[in-house]
């Protein structure tokens, strides 16, 4: 009697293990499917975003030219450090209100406009300073 009972319990154990095993396989299968779906969704979203990016209508050939333009870094450094003071000085001395009813009023207006346009370009401001000295007879 006892061995039969043992046998029965063993078969029951095997059966439960088999069902557990199949449940686990199913679980991992569905997990893999969900992961795959998430990856697919992320890839599609990334592709969509790339097509909506700025400048996506430009070809590489158009921007190729600007890759090799030379930038005057010394001018950039001078602009960072000294353009503010120079701009203040120039805008104060070349203000068109100081040249009202004078023959060089128009020149003063032009120079002032240029100064305002290039307020952060040190090189340009230096050339405008020279122009102001010549055309407006100013001393700095």
């Amino acid at each position: 009697m006892i061995p039969i009972l043992l046998f029965q319990t063993d078969t029951m154990k095997v059966a439960t293990l088999q069902t557990l095993n199949s449940i686990w396989i199913l679980f991992w299968f569905w997990l893999a499917i969900i992961e795959f779906a998430i990856i697919l969704f992320l890839l599609i979203r990334e592709k969509k975003r790339n097509t909506n990016l700025a400048f996506s209508d430009l070809t590489k050939d158009i921007v190729k030219k600007s890759k090799t333009t030379t930038i005057n870094m010394d001018n950039l450094m001078n602009s960072i450090n000294s353009s503010g003071e120079l701009y203040k000085e120039l805008s104060r001395k070349c203000h068109p209100d100081k040249f009202v009813n004078m023959p060089n009023q128009k020149n003063a207006e032009e120079i002032f406009q240029e100064i305002s346009k290039n307020k952060r370009n040190f090189e340009k401001l230096l050339s405008l300073k020279q122009r102001a000295m010549n055309e407006l007879n100013l001393n700095f």
Binding site: N50, L53, A54, F55, S56, L58, K60, I62, V63, K64, K65, S66, K67, T68, T69, I71, M73, D74, L76, M77, N78, S79, I80, N81, S82, S83, G84, R120, N121
Partner: protein, 134 residues
């Protein structure tokens, strides 16, 4: 086949141009600091950049152009804004940065983690750019 070789050559050319720009900036910053024209020593480096500022030419994990104060006088917020504006006012430089794969301009002080960020695509004046390249 030839197309792929050209793409690879372009990629290497682009990378060398990026590093040349960084090197030139750092050299000019160092020179002006040594000469006493600049109160703060600036240095640039490549960072990951801001993902919201990406554009079609952005480099993966290399879209940030960070200007950082290394030593000397600490930078005030107004000074950081001014540095950013000087760079953004230089249209040629902005276009070059965009063409070489940068999308974010960052200006940081020597202390702390706070800094300022600008999206380069907003300052590219792309209309003028297209006219010039025609």
């Amino acid at each position: 086949m030839w197309y792929k070789i050209i793409v690879i050559i372009d990629w290497f050319g682009e990378m060398s141009e990026r590093h040349r720009l960084i090197r030139d900036f750092n050299r000019a910053a160092k020179t002006s600091f040594i000469n006493g024209r600049a109160p703060t020593l600036l240095e640039t480096k490549i960072t990951t950049g801001e993902s919201d500022y990406r554009h079609a030419f952005s480099k993966f994990l290399g879209g940030g152009f960070r200007i950082k104060a290394l030593s000397g006088k600490p930078l005030e917020r107004d000074e950081m804004i001014e540095i950013g504006k000087v760079v953004l006012d230089n249209e040629e430089l902005v276009r070059k940065l965009i063409a070489l794969g940068w999308d974010t301009l960052e200006v940081h002080d020597s202390k702390g983690f706070n800094g300022l960020k600008w999206a380069l695509k907003k300052h590219a004046n792309i209309g003028g750019y297209l006219k010039q390249s025609e």
